[in-house]
């Protein structure tokens, strides 16, 4: 008995030591700053994206139980980059509430956060590494016409009632707005779905929200009764949205960031979901060939992804413009997938927007 136990204990200790040694060996060969996230994702066979499924256009669950929206499309793009394609099994949306974001990031349990995330200094330091801005919002206002609030006149918000999401940074921005303009208003806080219901019922006169995006659900109301609402063109503060990865893994951060660049560059070069195969085979453009990986690599090997990673991604979700079109266009509105909005700063720099990413060369 005792002997068996001893043998077992020794064997266990040896295994642990061997594993530690192996781990140390492996670490030694890794570039500085690289972590294990990519291996974890590959071992798991699945990439986990945190999102909230209560936002039309950005992320929701359809009748078949499938996750759809801008955020899930990015998750699919990441899956295509890591695994070659996005199947039902290799990407997953983990539904979280907005107030849970900091703790979910700190626990490190998810790979990338595709939720509608406002990028702030505090969050960059405390939550994780934000990647590139995918959407330029500000704290926007949608006010009802009977409220007597004059659009774009902040002073007229004084003494009225607003609604916004609980646990969002709009709660703080609202306080800043009050002190900046010397006004006070009542602010009712809800989970996202509740904001729309409360505004619709007349509980509040205006909604504080990202100048679109989170405002999408209110936009839906403004569509059914367009004459009852004012959508302000002035915004308060800066509200840039970006995807977010846990701190401490440069390889993973780079990989997620490159996917974003590929999507934007593809739009710039006219590579679309439909023509990507054709372009890959036939395009004479050096830039296109470089993007699609026919001309060797700009670092795919170091990120351990396929040379033609861009082809896989674009085949899966299309380019940046196509994704936006899928959820923020007249067609999207008709399908019930989103709503129409002008492309503002999230347009390419060539067309007067701010989307200006480095080349994938």
């Amino acid at each position: 008995m005792l002997n068996t136990a001893k043998v077992f204990a020794v064997a266990l200790a040896a295994t642990v030591l061997a594993a530690m040694y192996a781990a140390a060996q492996e670490d030694a060969t890794k570039p500085a700053g690289y972590g294990h996230r990519l291996e974890q994702v590959r071992d798991r066979g699945k990439i986990l994206c945190a999102d909230n499924t209560e936002l039309v256009a950005w992320s929701w669950i359809d009748e078949d139980g499938k996750n759809r929206g801008f955020g899930p499309d990015y998750c699919r793009a990441y899956a295509a980059a890591v695994f070659g394609d996005a199947t039902d099994d290799n990407w997953e949306i983990v539904n979280i509430t907005f107030a849970e974001r900091p703790t979910v990031m700190q626990s490190g349990e998810i790979d990338v956060m595709t939720i509608a995330n406002t990028w702030t200094a505090h969050r960059e330091v405390h939550w994780g590494n934000f990647v590139d801005i995918v959407h330029y919002a500000g704290l926007g206002v949608i006010s009802s016409k009977d409220s007597g609030i004059v659009p774009n006149d902040w002073q007229t918000l004084d003494g009225t009632t607003g609604c916004t999401g609980a646990g969002t940074n709009y709660v703080q921005m609202a306080a800043d707005m009050e002190s900046e303009y010397g006004i006070t208003f009542e602010l009712a806080l809800y989970e996202i779905g509740g904001v729309r219901d409360a505004y619709d019922a007349g509980r509040c006169d205006f909604v504080l929200t990202g100048s679109d995006g989170t405002g999408s659900f209110v936009r839906q109301l403004t569509r059914s009764t367009p004459d009852d609402h004012n959508i302000w063109t002035s915004v308060f503060g800066k509200d840039p949205w970006a995807m977010l990865v846990p701190h401490g893994d440069d390889q993973w951060f780079d990989l997620i960031r490159m996917v974003g660049w590929i999507l934007v560059n593809a739009e710039e070069l006219g590579v679309t979901q439909d023509n990507v195969e054709d372009m890959f085979a036939n395009s004479p453009s050096v830039k296109v060939q470089r993007l699609l990986g026919a001309e060797g690599t700009w670092g795919q090997d170091r990120l351990q992804i396929a040379d033609d990673v861009a082809v896989n991604i674009i085949k899966e979700v299309g380019n940046f413009g196509e994704i936006i079109h899928r959820y923020y266009s007249a067609e999207a509105e008709e399908k019930g997938w989103g709503f129409y909005r002008e492309r503002g700063p999230d347009n390419l720099y060539l067309r007067g927007g701010l989307m200006y990413v480095p080349e994938n060369t």
Binding site: G45, K46, L48, N52, T53, E54, L55, V56, W60, I61, D62, E63, D64, G65, K66, N67, D88, D89, E92, V94, N95, I96, T97, E100, T103, V104, Q106, S107, G108, E109, E191, I192, G193, R196, D197, D200, F217, Q220, L221, R223, S224, G336
Partner: protein, 412 residues
């Protein structure tokens, strides 16, 4: 005097003395129960008028105004969440364990389960016959509902005619089917027939039912342990158990859920990571086992000390006394309270939706917010959600009440 009585005659007496007020029959019942005094009559009238308007308004709304498409269109998501389409038969099969076990229970405890089992067996075909479109679930869903009836009957027959018909084997069957069901739902990474489906894709009513069952299975024995610990003569064990019970009973379930969701990953080493659903389950178990311990303690206190002394005098070992003498009596004495605690656990599972977990209520909320066409369907949706919770809770309450009745009769 006698003269006068005879003079007035029978006919006069009949005029003066009216026939007694009917105290039997429907009229008498109405009089005795609704109109016995003037203020009761007024009350009855008022209530009747209010009822009339309520029924008319609500009935009209249900039949004419309400848009029930939000339910029929999303039924699959409401029932099993994001469980993959191709694998949905697995979810259906696992959920069929409940009617089967209920049928078995019927054969063993007819007094407690008969009405429930028969109700389910009758209700399922009725729902299947409803003239509505079940969207993506289509005709298969109707067949599935009929299977419920078949399995109740099968369980009953099996229980009556084979060895399955004992209390112990019903509980064992339920436990085996439940745990096996979990494995079956989860599947195996390498398997072709049963591919892996993670708990993040589980959802809807299925998750609510699984969570409640898992909560019962785990927190019941834990509760017994803590109750015994609280009565232990060892000071340290006692103090630890008291602290556990009191702290967890005093904390709202929502706060506990947030703690397990957010802090558990910090409290456990990396290699012990749990998925979000399991963490929600941990909170439910922590809370519920503390309450269960208090219920069991009540039962332990009700066992006369003479029983213990007698057992000791017979030379029984301590653990035998506890397992064979004390616990069986203690648990029987507080059975209604224990069932009541199961009901509370079942209702508490709804709170996990606030942590973004897609249980029945969470799924309902996600559907309401996800698409514009459902934005205004809250009342329909919440009524449906409330009705479903009600049905399950009412079923459990009726069982608990039957147990209580049989105990007060001394049958127990």
């Amino acid at each position: 005097m006698a003269d006068r009585a005879s003079v007035t005659g029978v006919a006069d007496v009949a005029d003066q003395v009216r026939p007694p007020v009917a105290s039997t029959g429907p009229l008498g019942w109405v009089r005795a129960n609704l109109l016995d005094t003037w203020y009761n009559a007024l009350l009855t009238l008022g209530v009747l008028v209010a009822l009339y308007y309520l029924v008319r308004g609500f009935g009209g709304w249900v039949l004419l105004t309400a848009e029930w498409a939000v339910l029929t269109q999303n039924l699959q998501v409401l029932l099993v969440g994001q469980y993959p389409d191709e694998e949905i038969w697995r979810a259906g099969a696992v959920m069929l364990a409940l009617p089967f076990v209920l049928g078995l229970g019927w054969s063993v405890w007819p007094g407690f389960c008969r009405r429930l089992a028969i109700s389910l067996a009758v209700a399922a075909p009725l729902v299947a016959a409803l003239p509505v479109e079940f969207a993506s679930l289509a005709a298969g869903f109707r067949v599935y509902l009929l299977l419920n009836t078949v399995l109740v009957g099968a369980g009953w027959l099996l229980g009556r005619s084979t060895v399955f018909g004992s209390a112990r084997s019903v509980l064992a069957t339920w436990l085996v089917l439940f745990l096996g069901g979990l494995v079956f739902l989860r599947g195996f990474a390498a398997s072709e027939a049963l591919p892996f489906v993670g708990t993040k894709q589980w959802g809807g009513l299925m998750v609510t039912l699984l969570l409640s069952q898992a909560g019962i299975v785990i927190s019941f024995p834990l509760g017994i342990l803590f109750a015994l610990g609280r009565r232990s003569s060892m000071a340290f064990v006692r103090v630890a158990c008291v602290a556990y019970i009191e702290v967890l009973r005093g904390t709202p379930i929502l706060a506990l859920l947030f703690v397990t969701q957010v802090l558990l990953p910090l409290l456990l080493p990396d290699w012990m990571d749990m998925d979000r659903l399991t963490r929600g389950l941990v909170a439910l178990i922590l809370n519920n086992s503390a309450y269960m311990a208090e219920n069991v303690r009540g039962g332990l206190q009700s066992v006369p000390s003479g029983q213990l002394e007698a057992a000791r005098a017979l030379g029984m070992r301590v653990h035998h006394i506890t397992a064979r003498i004390v616990l069986p009596q203690a648990l029987r004495n507080v059975l209604p309270a224990i069932v009541g605690q199961f009901i509370i656990l079942f209702k508490d599972t709804a709170v996990i939706s606030l942590l973004g977990l897609l249980d029945f209520l969470g799924t309902a909320n996600a559907i309401l917010s996800g698409r514009q066409q459902w934005f205004n369907a809250e009342i329909e949706m919440f009524l449906f959600v409330a009705a479903v919770y009600w049905v399950f809770t009412y079923a459990m309450t009726s069982v608990s009440r039957a147990i209580e009745r049989s105990m007060s009769k001394g049958v127990g």
